[in-house]
């Protein structure tokens, strides 16, 4: 395993991301709620640049069987990454794919050390 300093903590605000290349691999560093996460820029669907896609929320729905009414809610604003090729959704905090159960973005350990953000590959 190799360690790489990829950014300084102050370089990224909450909601920011930074694309970097480490040993020929494209990695995206995300900052959300003060936490850093690193994912390989590779959609498990067809290998698209998932980490370059728009960051949005997504829709949830609940059905009231007594009233026969469906209530739509917008949730996870700022936490959903959409692969620009086909719209597959990923949850940024966990890397979980929302479009296919059990699938995840490949993730990498991240730690902060002396104001630097260090990614392990």
């Amino acid at each position: 395993m190799s360690e790489h300093t990829v950014a300084t903590v102050s370089e990224l605000e909450d909601g920011d991301r930074k694309l970097i290349e480490i040993e020929g691999r494209e990695i995206a560093l995300f900052r959300l709620d003060g936490e850093f996460r690193a994912y390989t820029n590779w959609c498990i669907h067809q290998g698209g640049p998932a980490c370059e896609g728009s960051i949005t929320g997504t829709s949830d729905a609940e059905f009231d069987r007594d009233e026969l009414q469906t209530e739509l809610q917008w949730s996870k604003e700022g936490e959903v990454l959409n692969c620009p090729w086909h719209g597959w959704e990923y949850d940024i905090p966990t890397g979980d794919c929302l479009s296919k159960e059990g699938a995840k973005l490949p993730s990498h350990p991240v730690r902060v050390e002396d104001g630097d953000v260090v990614v392990s590959l």
Binding site: T58, A61, R65, L68, T70, H86, W88, E89, S99, K100
Partner: protein
């Protein structure tokens, strides 16, 4: 009717036929209607059951079996001839095509009264209750009326002439009532009624070959896409769905296609918490007829394997001109599948789908 060998093999197998139509003549249904609809059928010159004018039986090249298939004794004879132990009978008429909501509601109740009066009350037949969707709350009330009868084992909806498409939330009272009575929804495609859903193609096609090739699968695909896309299986988690009369090959195609589109557009259908394939494999059942006829028989083996014995059920569609004899499916089951798988498809899976009131 069949060879000695085939008859011997079938004699040892209990067979459920999930699609048997009784023919109901206009004078017969009129007896179960109140006025003004009774006279509207018997005394009025307008065609109550409009025809698309296609010649389905090609000038008599194919015999007419349906005109005389009107009574319980005809079903008994069919059972004997075709070695069907449990025919699940329906009144055929797709009620979605009727423009007059009053008439559609009256016909729905009349068909159910006829089914009970002529076929279920004095015999041990199993039947499907007719449902018309023009007024979903009234349809739900009808399901409440007939739904606790043990011989009513499902609810029959023709998928032609249905507007809006059947998954539309306006139909939710029907699905709720069906779930309350633990009755599966049975969607049935039709050829003659192609003109109601696809009038431009009906006008543009030059022969019935083209209509028959596309009518049933287009209707059934539109229905399955609508039901899944509107989240009906998620809204009613104990409700099951049966699709009849479009064969089986369209199911893997649409199932896999919907998986792909679901993953691209998940946020558009947020009620779904599983892939379309998971809903279909868990809760959808498919009737075999009319089984496609691949030039290479192993292609049908793979198709049957893709659906699986938990989803596939046998259907004849008798007495209609495009019926399948059991041999059509059973030749593949006997050649390529285990006896356990065969038993599932011919008996256990329909017993599960329709919650049939006897032991497996």
């Amino acid at each position: 009717m069949m060879s000695q060998t085939a008859a011997h093999a079938l004699a040892e197998t209990t067979v459920v036929d999930t699609d048997v139509h009784i023919t109901v003549e206009e004078e017969m249904i009129a007896k179960y209607l109140e006025e003004p609809h009774r006279s509207s059928i018997t005394d009025s010159p307008h065609p109550m059951f409009p025809s698309s004018s296609w010649d389905q039986r090609m000038g008599g090249k194919i015999d007419d079996y349906f005109s005389e298939f009107t009574g319980p004794e005809d079903i008994r004879q069919f059972q004997e001839d075709f070695q069907i132990d449990y025919p699940i009978i329906n009144t055929f008429e797709p009620l979605g095509k009727f423009s007059q909501p009053d008439l559609a509601m009256s016909l729905m109740r009349a068909y159910n009264d006829l089914l009970l009066d002529k076929f279920l009350d004095d015999y041990d037949f199993l039947g499907l209750g007719a449902v018309a969707t023009q007024r979903p709350e009234e349809a739900a009330a009808e399901i409440d009326r007939i739904g606790d009868n043990e011989q009513i084992v499902g609810l029959y909806l023709g998928t032609s002439g249905e507007y809006p498409p059947l998954g539309d939330p306006s139909n939710d009272p029907i699905y709720k009532a069906a779930e309350d009575h633990d009755l599966p929804i049975v969607f049935h495609g039709n050829g003659e009624e192609f003109m109601f859903d696809f009038p431009l193609h009906n006008k543009g096609f030059n022969n019935y070959f083209e209509v028959q090739s596309l009518g049933h699968p287009w209707q059934q695909m539109a229905t399955m896409a609508s039901v899944i896309g509107e989240g009906v299986p998620a809204k009613f988690p104990d409700l099951d769905f049966v699709f009849l009369e479009a064969g089986i090959g369209w199911v893997p195609y649409l199932m896999h296609r919907m998986n792909k589109i679901y993953r691209m557009r998940r946020s558009e259908v947020p009620l779904l918490d599983q892939s379309p394939e998971e809903y279909i494999r868990d809760r959808f059942y498919i009737g075999s007829q009319p089984l496609g006829e691949p030039n290479r028989s192993e292609d049908m083996k793979r198709m049957i394997e893709t659906l699986g014995a938990d989803m596939l059920m046998f259907a004849t569609d008798y007495p209609h001109w495009d019926f399948d004899h059991l041999e059509e499916l059973d030749k593949y089951l006997q050649h390529y599948f285990t006896e356990e798988e065969r038993q599932k498809i011919l008996y256990e899976t329909p017993v599960e789908a329709f919650r049939l009131p006897f032991q497996q």
